[in-house]
C-alpha cells in the first residue's frame, strides 16, 4: 500500500484535531482533540518508519505517546482543579492574560 494514503489520513486526523482545539470551548473536548492531533502525527511517523523499513519512527511514536500521557495528566489535573474551585468549565471564561 502506498504511504500516501497513510499520510493523507494522518493529515485529516490532525486537521480534525486542530479544528476541534480552535472551535470547542470545553477543555475536556480540547484535550481529546489534542490527542487526535498527536495521534495524527504518530500515524505519519509510523507510516514513514515503515516506508524506510527501520524502527526509528516507531520509537519516536512511542515517545510521543509518553508525552501525550503526561500532557493528559496535567490537563485533567487542571480541569479537576477548576471544577473544585467552581470555575466554569469553559476556556473562554479564563482570559486573565488579556492585555
Amino acid at each position: 500500500m502506498d504511504v500516501v494514503w497513510f499520510v493523507v489520513l494522518s493529515a485529516f486526523i490532525f486537521c480534525i484535531g486542530a479544528a476541534g482545539v480552535m472551535t470547542r470551548r470545553n477543555p475536556l473536548v480540547i484535550l481529546l482533540c489534542l490527542e487526535l492531533m498527536l495521534n495524527g502525527g504518530n500515524l505519519a511517523l509510523i507510516a514513514f518508519a515503515r516506508m524506510h523499513g527501520n524502527a526509528e519512527g516507531q520509537i519516536f511514536a512511542l515517545i510521543v505517546m509518553v508525552v501525550a500521557a503526561c500532557e493528559v495528566v496535567v490537563g485533567l489535573g487542571l480541569i479537576v482543579a477548576m471544577y473544585r474551585r467552581k470555575i466554569p468549565i469553559d476556556v473562554d471564561s479564563m482570559s486573565e492574560l488579556r492585555g
Binding site: 486542530a18 480552535m22 476556556v91 473562554d92 482570559s95 492574560l97 488579556r98 492585555g99
Partner: protein, 672 residues
C-alpha cells in the same frame, strides 16, 4: 630690603587681612575687624613708601625691578610667572591706591558701625585692595588679568553688599556683566599680543612689539582697541559706562573707594602701562582720545541734571576719568596720572561728604529733599566745598593744575587735538557749574527738617531706613545702617579721613605746579621715556601752560558764579530753565537714553529670545518632541503589543498553528 620685597609685602598685608577677617568673621568683636583691616592697608601703604624710597636710591634709568615667586603655568613656549613689576608707575599707583584706601577704611569704621555686615564688609574691602594692588603690580598679562577679574568680583560683591536690596543686586549684576565684557576684550588682546610676540611679561612684550610690528600694524591696532574696550569697561567710558551710576547702590565708602578713587582708574593705568603699544598704533590712541573726550562731555552734561546726589557725583567721576583717558591717549602720561591722583583725593572726599549728608538724611539721596546743611554740618560743609573747588579746578586747588596739565598737553599735540582740548575746556566749565550746583543745593537754601533738627537739637531721630529707588523698607537683618545710624561728622576716624583728603585736595597740586615745580613728572618720566613709533611725550611750553591755567581759572570762576547766580541769587531760575527747555532736560535726565538704547538693543532681544526658548524650544521641542515623543512611542508600541494578548486560548492556538503553517510553507517553497 629691595623694592621687590616691598612689592610682595604690599600685596601680602591686604591678603592676610582678607583671610584673617573672612575666616574669623563671626569672632571679631565690635569694630576690631575694621581696625585690623585699616592697619593692614596702613602697613601696605608703608611698604609702598618703602618701595618708593628704595627706588629713589637707584639711578632714574634703572628703577624697574621684576621679581617672581614661582612659575604660575609652564608649558612649551609658554611660561607665566607669578611675577611682579615694580617701577615708577606701579609704585605711584600703589601709593595712591593704598593711601586712599587706608583713609576710606578709617572712614568706613565709623560709617559702617551700626551695620550688621560689618565684618563681611571689611573682608570684602581688604580683598578689593589686594586685587587692585595685584592689578597694578602684576608683571605680566596673566597676573594682570587675574587682578583685573578679582577687582571686578570685589566690585560686584560690594555693590550688592546689601543683598536683600533688590536694586543693589540688579546693579551688581549689571556691573559684573559689563566688566566681563572688558575682561574678555583684555584676554583676547593678551592672546593677540602673545601670538605675535610670544611673550607675556610686560617688558618682553613691549620689546618684542617694537621688533614685530610696523607702525599702525593691523593686529596691533586690534589689540590696542581691545585693550581700550577693557579699559572702557573698567573705567566706565562710553559706551560701557552705564554700570557706574547704578553701582552707587553700594555703601557710600565703597562708591568713594572703588567707584571713584581707585578701581575705575584701572583703565587709565592699563593704557599707561601698555603705552608702547599705543604709541606704535597711533590710530588706536587717537580713538582712545576721542572716546575719552566724548565721555567727559557726555557725563558732565548728565551730571548737571542728576537729582540723586551720589549719581551726580558718579557722572562727575565718569567725566573726570574721561579727562585721564584723554591725557594718557595723547601720550601725556604723567599728566593723566597726576589727574588720577588729585581726582582720587577730591572725589573720595566728595563721596565721603555725600555719605555724611546721606547719613544725616537717613538714606535719602535726592537733592530735592536736601538743603541748608551749612550750619548743621560745618565740617562736612568745609570739606565738601574743598572737594568741589578742586573738582571745579578753582585756581591753586589740586584739580586746577592736573586738569590744565592734560589740556595743555593736548593742545601741544596740535592739529585735531586742539578741538579735543577746546571741548575739554567747555566741559570744565560745565564741571564747575555742576560741582557748585551740588554745594549750593545741599548746603544753602531753605533748611530741611533734618537740617533744622540737627542744628537746633544736635541729634537726629531717624526713621526706619528705606530704599530711595523704590521706596521699599530696608531689610536691616543682613546689614544696613539701622535707625540709630551715626552722623558722619561726629566720629573722629571720619574726620581724620576727610581732613587728610581735604588737605590732599587743596595741596595735591604741588606735585605738578605748572612747569615750575613738577616732581611727579620728573619721577614718572623715566618710566615713559622709551617711546615707540616716533611718538614723543608732549611738554607744554610755558606760554601754553600759563595761558591754559589762566583760561582754566577764568572758566572755573565763571562756572561757579553761574551756579551761584542760578541756585542762590535767582533761586527759581533752574526750574524756569527746565520749563523753558523741557526736551533738553528730558534728554539729559534720561542720561542720553543710553540705558534705553541698551535695553532695546540687548536686553529686550535677549529676554525675547529667552521667552522663545522657554515657550517654544523648551515646552514644545524638548518637552513635547523629545521627551513626549519618546514616551508616546513606547506607550503606543506597548499598547499594540498588549492588544495582541487576547487571553483566549483558542486565539493562541490559532497563532501557533498559523506560525507552524507559515514555517512549513516556507520550507516547502524553499525546498521545491
Amino acid at each position: 630690603m629691595s623694592a621687590t620685597t616691598y612689592g610682595w609685602l604690599i600685596l601680602a598685608f591686604p591678603l592676610a587681612g582678607t583671610i584673617a577677617i573672612a575666616i574669623g568673621f563671626k569672632l571679631w568683636p565690635g569694630r576690631s575687624a575694621g581696625w585690623i583691616a585699616s592697619a593692614m592697608i596702613g602697613l601696605s601703604f608703608l611698604a609702598a613708601l618703602g618701595a618708593l624710597f628704595d627706588m629713589l636710591d637707584h639711578d632714574p634709568e634703572g628703577r624697574a625691578f621684576t621679581s617672581s615667586l614661582f612659575s604660575y603655568a609652564k608649558t612649551a613656549g609658554f611660561d607665566a610667572q607669578m611675577g611682579i613689576l615694580v617701577d615708577q608707575l606701579s609704585v605711584f599707583m600703589c601709593l595712591v591706591v593704598s593711601g586712599v584706601s587706608f583713609l576710606i577704611h578709617l572712614y568706613s569704621i565709623s560709617y559702617m558701625t551700626s551695620d550688621k555686615g560689618f565684618n563681611r564688609y571689611f573682608a570684602y574691602l581688604n580683598f578689593f585692595v589686594f586685587s587692585m594692588l595685584l592689578l597694578v603690580l602684576a608683571g605680566n598679562f596673566v597676573l594682570l588679568i587675574v587682578g583685573w577679574a578679582f577687582v571686578g568680583a570685589a566690585s560686584y560683591l560690594l555693590i550688592s553688599f546689601w543683598y536683600r536690596r533688590k536694586t543693589a543686586v540688579q546693579a551688581g549684576i549689571k556691573a559684573f556683566v559689563i566688566n566681563v565684557i572688558g575682561d574678555i576684550a583684555l584676554v583676547i588682546a593678551a592672546f593677540l599680543l602673545f601670538s605675535k610676540t610670544g611673550a607675556l611679561e610686560f617688558q618682553a612684550v613691549f620689546e618684542g612689539a617694537e621688533d614685530v610690528f610696523v607702525k599702525n600694524d593691523g593686529t596691533l591696532i586690534a589689540a590696542c582697541l581691545l585693550l581700550l574696550v577693557g579699559a572702557s569697561a573698567k573705567s566706565a567710558q562710553l559706551p560701557l559706562h552705564t554700570w557706574l551710576p547704578d553701582a552707587m547702590e553700594g555703601p557710600t565708602p565703597v562708591s568713594s573707594l572703588i567707584h571713584a578713587a581707585t578701581m575705575v582708574t584701572a583703565g587709565v593705568y592699563l593704557i599707561a602701562r601698555t603705552h608702547i603699544l599705543f604709541e606704535l598704533a597711533p590710530t588706536a590712541s587717537d580713538i582712545a582720545a576721542i572716546v575719552g573726550t566724548a565721555t567727559l562731555v557726555f557725563a558732565a552734561t548728565v551730571a548737571l541734571v542728576m537729582t540723586d546726589l551720589k549719581r551726580a557725583i558718579a557722572y562727575s567721576t565718569i567725566s573726570q576719568i574721561g579727562y585721564m583717558i584723554l591725557g594718557v591717549s595723547v601720550f601725556a602720561y604723567s599728566a593723566g596720572l597726576f589727574h588720577l591722583m588729585t581726582h582720587a583725593f577730591f572725589k573720595a572726599l566728595l563721596f565721603m561728604g555725600a555719605g555724611s549728608i546721606i547719613g544725616a538724611m537717613a538714606g535719602e539721596q535726592s537733592l530735592d529733599k536736601m538743603g541748608g546743611f551749612r550750619k548743621a554740618m560745618p565740617f562736612t560743609f568745609v570739606t565738601f566745598t574743598i572737594g568741589a573747588l578742586a573738582l571745579a579746578a578753582f585756581p591753586l586747588f589740586s584739580g586746577f593744575f592736573s586738569k590744565d596739565d592734560i589740556l595743555g598737553s593736548t593742545i601741544t599735540r596740535g592739529g585735531g587735538f586742539i578741538v579735543l582740548a577746546v571741548v575739554g575746556y567747555l566741559a570744565a566749565f560745565v564741571t564747575a557749574i555742576y560741582a557748585f550746583r551740588l554745594v549750593f543745593r545741599v548746603f544753602w537754601g531753605e533748611r530741611v527738617p533734618e537740617a533744622a533738627e540737627l542744628e537746633d537739637e544736635g541729634k537726629l531721630a531717624h526713621a526706619e531706613p528705606f530704599n530711595p529707588a523704590n521706596n521699599e523698607a530696608e531689610d536691616t537683618e543682613v546689614g544696613f545702617p539701622g535707625p540709630e545710624h551715626h552722623i558722619a561728622e561726629r566720629e573722629w576716624p571720619m574726620k581724620i579721613a576727610m581732613g587728610t583728603l581735604a588737605f590732599g585736595a587743596v595741596f595735591g597740586g604741588v606735585f605738578g605746579f605748572a612747569n615750575l615745580f613738577d616732581p611727579l613728572d620728573k619721577f614718572l618720566e623715566p618710566a615713559f621715556e622709551e617711546t615707540a613709533g616716533g611718538a614723543h611725550i608732549p611738554h607744554p611750553s610755558d606760554a601754553t601752560e600759563y595761558s591754559g591755567l589762566t583760561i582754566g581759572g577764568v572758566i572755573s570762576i565763571t562756572g561757579i558764579a553761574i551756579a551761584w547766580f542760578v541756585y542762590i541769587r535767582r533761586a527759581g531760575l533752574s526750574g524756569a530753565l527746565v520749563r523753558r527747555f523741557p526736551r533738553v532736560h528730558e534728554f539729559l535726565v534720561n542720561k542720553w537714553y543710553f540705558d534705553e538704547l541698551y535695553d532695546a538693543a540687548f536686553v529686550r532681544p535677549l529676554v525675547a529670545a529667552g521667552r522663545f526658548g522657554r515657550t517654544v524650544v523648551e515646552s514644545k521641542l524638548v518637552q513635547g518632541g523629545l521627551v513626549g515623543g519618546t514616551s508616546a512611542l513606547v506607550r503606543e508600541g506597548s499598547a499594540f503589543a498588549r492588544s495582541l494578548q487576547t487571553g483566549y486560548l483558542r486565539a493562541y492556538a490559532l497563532l501557533v498553528l498559523a506560525g507552524l503553517v507559515g514555517l512549513a510553507g516556507y520550507f516547502l517553497i524553499v525546498s521545491s
